[in-house]
Symmetry: C2
Subunit: 219 residues, 2 copies
């Protein structure tokens, strides 16, 4: 189970500094949408340059102009870029094709995607599919953590299916519940990035993840 | 009927130059999503600085973190920012609230939104609702111009409802068909920006729009 650190609502310098503190304990580093829209691809370049050995996720939240946005992200050092599951299928397909051609990966974000569409998205076997409760849903609507929607995923899990990521208000306290969700990637933002001691928070969450990793049901 | 020039897939310098050629004939200037994701808010600032008297549309395609993205866009000089109609309702509401508080506007992009959701989006009376066929749908799926979906909008048109924008592969040849769609804003990208002579193209399209403006059915 990989730990992905999401960096949002900060400057590029703060993102590099925060990631530096947590780097020993995280596997993947996400350049958040807010950084990309505020600072452009310079944010992706800066994180890849600072952490050349980490997997860098550009959270582009692509909805259209898929090939262009994915090429731009990969050219800037991203190993993975994201597309919204709510986007037109032709755009998601273009992301998957671009990823395959570049030997990179696509993460399909299920934010506000009805479960009826999940099967169509699970046919992208080389993708990572991300069950996601958004910031606004958490902060404004009081919806926390997509454990409920996970039940719609379970019937779709196969050994040949896409990898599963899980995002939305994850804290150390919620890690034990992840055993039933069986994600391949756990995405944590504020609980590390906004912690008084990001290194300690990342270490602690990383250890909690390792503690449940052996308990995942096989799929 | 306003003419909005969309600038995409170019550098900021090219965007300023292209907009400069067409400025006399266009009302609104859109900083395309590709510019924002590649160059960040610097692209919005550059266009507003170059054209302080034009309405600047930041095509942020917001899907989450709505208040943050809209504040950032308005702070950078945008008069209008965009949110996806496919986003969670709480995010769209946050965009509308931020726009109202800042005395700015929100454009709600109907790209890949099922018509069943249109009525929910038409309750944002101060918004601009944009019927939109995406670049990928045009270039990869051969779907051109959202005239078909327009029939779902007509029953929702009222004098107190949101303004209507229309985007997707519009060329001078398609302008006459707009009379039946009755948009308040016509968004044109490549047909001006990638024309051999952007000024001539903008002038010609602007005149075509004026020619049908008087023929719009009242609503």
């Amino acid at each position: 189970m990989k730990l992905q650190l999401a960096l949002d609502r900060m400057t590029v310098a703060e993102a590099v500094e925060t990631a530096g503190k947590a780097a020993a304990y995280v596997d993947w580093i996400e350049v958040g949408t807010s950084l990309i829209k505020q600072f452009g691809m310079a944010s992706v370049k800066a994180l890849k340059q600072a952490f050349p050995d980490k997997t860098i996720v550009a959270d582009t939240k692509t909805f259209d102009n898929a090939k262009y946005e994915f090429e731009m992200s990969y050219d800037s050092g991203a190993d993975i870029a994201t597309v919204m599951g709510a986007a037109p299928m032709v755009s998601i397909e273009a992301c998957a094709e671009t990823a395959a051609r570049r030997n990179k990966r696509v993460m399909i974000d299920l934010l506000h995607v009805p479960p009826s569409r999940f099967p169509d998205l699970f046919r992208f076997q080389d993708a990572i599919v991300c069950l996601h409760v958004g910031k606004d849903q958490q902060e404004l609507a009081g919806e926390f953590q997509p454990f409920g929607a996970a039940e719609h995923l379970h019937p779709l899990y196969t050994s040949r299916g896409p990898k599963i990521a899980f995002a939305g208000g994850i804290t150390e306290a919620s890690i034990p519940r992840l055993a039933s969700v069986r994600p391949d990637v756990v995405i944590v933002g504020s609980a590390i990035a906004k912690a008084p001691d990001p290194a300690a928070a990342a270490k602690s969450i990383s250890e909690s993840i390792k503690a449940i990793a052996g308990k995942e049901p096989k799929r």
